[in-house]
Point group: C3
């Protein structure tokens, strides 16, 4: 029983004729290289190429999908050693995780983990309290081998290109080191300016000053600030960057006159802006970023709609990204209008929209992307990067936006080992969706093969200009 963690037909519809179509579509795409245009792996892994320390540090400690579920069921964050620089008692942490593994039934986390356990570590019996030590020892042993170093895994995973996400202030030394090393892997940064465009970001004033120093501009003026940002973008671009990323609370944009914008910047810098002015500043900065994208060709990603650090106690004790970000209702139709009024018809602009509020897919996002030439829809993000979430996305978006206004898959992960698993789930779900269209005679089979290839490989390369 449970002799294998993964069935080769997983995620395909049970109905036999549809499953058969899904299988043949999947055959066609499952070996294509992985293009990973957006995510949160660390460039230092590939620069240093050191072994990952232990199973807990690899699978539990950095993965908020994992520890948020454990925390929700009463497991202590401290017992899991979350937020500690190193895991002191990895086997103890692993045993807690293993004995609660049943909590992940029905979640994508379970599917991603099982994939890594079986495909990377050859484990075939389900993780549980009983098998905890077997798992720990097997994984720990393999992690010491050269085949489990980051660069070897990158190659084993058949990754063609992988984008990390870096602060606009990051010196990008690891990226430089990777390039200097002569290794053939393609690791590129995405430009994430939140720290220098969001006045509510911790240390905003210092960051603005640092931005000026780094780029030889006087960021006490609006003009100098914009120049510094343009130079920082150019610096990223010189290291292969093709995209920017904007994680604002909302999708609000603005289109102030230069005078208004300069005055607002001055007030923001003085630390006297209220919440509405801070929001207006972020909004204006999205439009400024769009303008720069028209000029330098960087593709713009907008990731709005998370209420960050919802749990005050967790934030104060453990900091950001601790599984306590909760989505809220998100407006796109009014919020994006100022930016779109200004740049929405520019041929050279690509803006990829992400969402955490699924009610917007058929109501706002698909109609927007099905009209504006600059807009594309990013894949289901975060909580919706899941079999049901992906299927709903296709069902809700395709009839209005088609397939060609979407951009393939983003794994968007901090968990390096989950990358092949996540892409595999996305490929299977796209094939399952297409198989249903074929089985219901809504799409010809030859077309489904073309679309499956596009969703897996072509569209992401085109949209991200890779």
């Amino acid at each position: 029983m449970n002799s294998m963690l993964l069935n080769e037909d997983r995620l395909f519809p049970a109905e036999a004729s549809t499953r058969k179509i899904a299988r043949s579509l999947y055959e066609h795409v499952h070996n294509l290289p992985i293009v990973s245009p957006h995510g949160h792996t660390q460039a230092s892994w590939f620069a240093k190429d050191e072994a990952f320390p232990d199973p807990a540090a690899l699978f539990v400690q950095p993965d908020h999908y994992v520890f948020r579920m454990l925390y929700s069921q009463g497991v202590s964050m401290d017992d899991l050693e979350i937020g500690q620089p190193v895991v002191k008692e990895p086997r103890k942490v692993w045993r807690i995780f293993a004995s609660h593994y049943y909590l992940f039934r029905g979640t994508p986390t379970r599917m991603w983990l099982d994939y890594a356990f079986e495909k990377q570590f050859g484990l075939k019996e389900r993780l549980s309290e009983k098998t905890a030590d077997l798992y720990f020892d097997s994984i720990a042993e393999k992690l010491k081998t050269p085949q489990f170093r980051p660069r070897a895994l990158y190659e084993k995973f058949n990754i063609e290109v992988l984008s990390t996400t870096e602060s606009a202030l990051d010196p990008l030394k690891d990226h430089q080191a990777i390039r200097a090393s002569g290794w053939k892997g393609r690791i590129i940064p995405a430009f994430r300016p939140d720290a220098v465009v969001d006045p509510e970001f911790k240390g905003f004033a210092e960051s603005i000053a640092k931005l000026g120093e780094q780029n030889g501009e006087d960021t006490s003026t609006w003009k100098g600030y914009l120049n510094a940002l343009a130079k920082a973008r150019a610096r990223f671009k010189s290291l292969g960057c093709t995209s920017t990323d904007h994680g604002h609370p909302t999708a609000q944009t603005a289109d102030l006159t230069e005078g208004e914008a300069a005055a607002l910047f001055s007030k923001i810098r003085g630390g006297k802006a209220d919440a509405a002015e801070q929001e207006l500043f972020r909004a204006q900065m999205l439009t400024e970023m769009a303008r720069m994208s028209v000029e330098d060709g960087l593709v713009m990603q907008i990731h709005p709609g998370a209420v960050r650090n919802h749990n005050r106690l967790i934030y104060e004790k453990y900091g950001r990204d601790m599984g306590a970000d909760i989505p809220g209702p998100t407006d796109y139709v009014h919020a994006l209008r100022p930016l779109l009024k200004r740049y929405g018809n520019e041929k050279n602009l690509t803006i990829i929209l992400f969402m955490l509020d699924e009610s917007t897919i058929s109501r706002e996002l698909a109609p927007l992307a099905g009209h504006y030439p600059c807009l594309r829809l990013g894949p289901p993000w975060w909580f919706h990067d899941s079999p049901e979430g992906m299927m709903r996305f296709r069902e809700l978006a395709t009839e209005t936006a088609g397939f060609y206004n979407t951009v393939g898959f983003n794994d968007d992960t901090r968990a390096f080992l989950s990358i092949p698993a996540r892409h595999d789930v996305a490929r299977r779900i796209d094939c399952a969706f297409l198989a249903r269209l074929v089985a219901e005679h809504r799409l010809d089979e030859d077309e489904a093969f073309e679309v499956a290839h596009a969703l897996t490989y072509d569209l992401v390369k085109k949209a991200y200009r890779l």
Copy 2:
């Protein structure tokens, strides 16, 4: 390969026993006459009965579903000759369309077009760059024949009644001409007063004055204005009209006293009202229209929730209805309350609610229609007039509102050739939904036959009083 565009089992579930039930339900309804109670075809077509000019003018130029998708992928509106009085280079336009036909994969537009291509024009190979000229020539040739004149098509399509939508100011000469011609087709107008009840409508003041002249009333007074509207409704009714149609930005209603309403009207007429007062006026006018409906028996349709002309550049260059209307969140539960408080329990009133915001179906619309005797739910509209959209509507509405608080199908189209295709999709999806209920033993098969007939034919005639 691709020897036929349409499979006879299209849109039916793949599971064999369910498909068999769906087929037999569809057999029962697919030849029923088309009742088209709401749409945007032109009465002049049936009055003049002239040939359609060419394939581009028939399929591309008037259809915002088509050109919005092309525009979203970088095709120029000018190259498509959108907004031109005649298409100068129809073959060139057609070739652009044909070479981008793959963009419509997975969309209802593709399904509607394939239906027309095969059923009306006998085409059997898929439209593509390669087959562009074959299509153009075949269609162009057929359009010259008498069988492709509007009246002949109306009869071929087995239409029992077709409602156009006309401005309250329209003299209805085409409708009069149709009646005078002795042709047996039943073409009727719906009364659309947006131009004279929405202060934000272009030329509102002139329209109000014209309304007064046409109806022999002094529309500078609230009383005279209301009288003029009542007379205009009576004029429509005399030409077969059974319904009114209201395309407001929101579903807001109001219930002002007569004095308040008169004062608001005066301010509106004076051009001094702000946005909130304009909204309040539209809101009050919905309630006034409901009152008149109680009196004259016209069925009221409310189509709220579109942010019109979202793309400023497109609006300025090409005008309204150019594929740039985007839905937004829509409130019904609070917005309709003033009207419902006043007239919600009237036996003689029917209000058909439409939606662009699917999150309202199970939350607000089905509960409202499942209680108020005057309310009925219109079919999925516009972006949701699609296989997935229709299926979601049934899944979200039926358990609370049942089938009998819905009103069958509206094609709501400007594209005359798409009418049979759209009704066919609706019939197939309703049969597919009912087949699942039968296969899952949630409805007896004899009941499913009755319901399928009701959804196709009976409910629309009853709701629209046809």
Copy 3:
């Protein structure tokens, strides 16, 4: 034809291999005892154990699901004798109901009723105008027999525990009588304080005074008011109560200082508070209730999001709970934050969240419950207590919150006879969902058996501390 109302495979997917799995899961759980932790049956039924009067009084008059649908289609509330102390012409009411039974096609009401008709009354031909009298006579006859008394039915239904919902002011005499009677049925009350925490509740001032008298506290002071509530909770607890229930218009919470809260209470008591202050008071009281729950261990249920008594005429003529409550958009992510900031990490606290706005499931509720240790998701409520609603809930919640942050099923009914039917539908849908996960190799079959058992029995007992 229609020789049986219920097929043994009802609600299972049609696809054969999936149906087979669903069947075997259902075999495993369908005989488990019913745990009913929240509902609106009447304690007096079990205290007095009298026969139900007649079919109309049992099935039509108390069931707003039934008469709201009839009213929506033009049936008069008076003809149904809604709101009358006794039904004077039960056969006439029954005939109206029977002749409109087709309106319930596709609704859960139909399924619940058919279950009761067949399983409790042995009826096998569908209810209709034709069978109205047969039904009436069969049911009326059986209702006179001892097997149809409330206590006998409780035992026949295999109920392990049943919670009623009682006002904080209720003397709980029926509950005392049940305990004193020696009957082994476990009927417990839930503590519902709306009448004494919601300033908009009819007779609020008198209720506050009465609360003081009952509990020997001076409720003219904030301190005395809180003490009285704590004592009332203790009184409920002494009769087996394990939960409180809060039916506020919104989920808004607040965290005022003691001084602010006392001042607000004083203003509220003086009857001078405006709508915003009334909302703030309800919000503060949710947080106070959470504090008391931390102290006394009562599980907190929040049922927000209904616009009550939407139809003014119906409310004025027939009162509350007359089928005219309509859901609206509901915010959780911001609304719950003040309470969660204060008590969200308390180990001893359980808050069960219910929803009427399905757009919140994947956006807010699953992320909240998948993080905060005190939060659990209640089953789909009211309009969503239905096959499609339950399936959507599992599809939308599971991938983020898993199964173990949900709490099994609530029947939440006033219709005693519907209890086994409702639990049966929930068990079948859970098995159908799990069967799909197994068929698609997303869950192992042995795990599905465990989860099915947990969803049916274990989770509800644990969450409600029964």
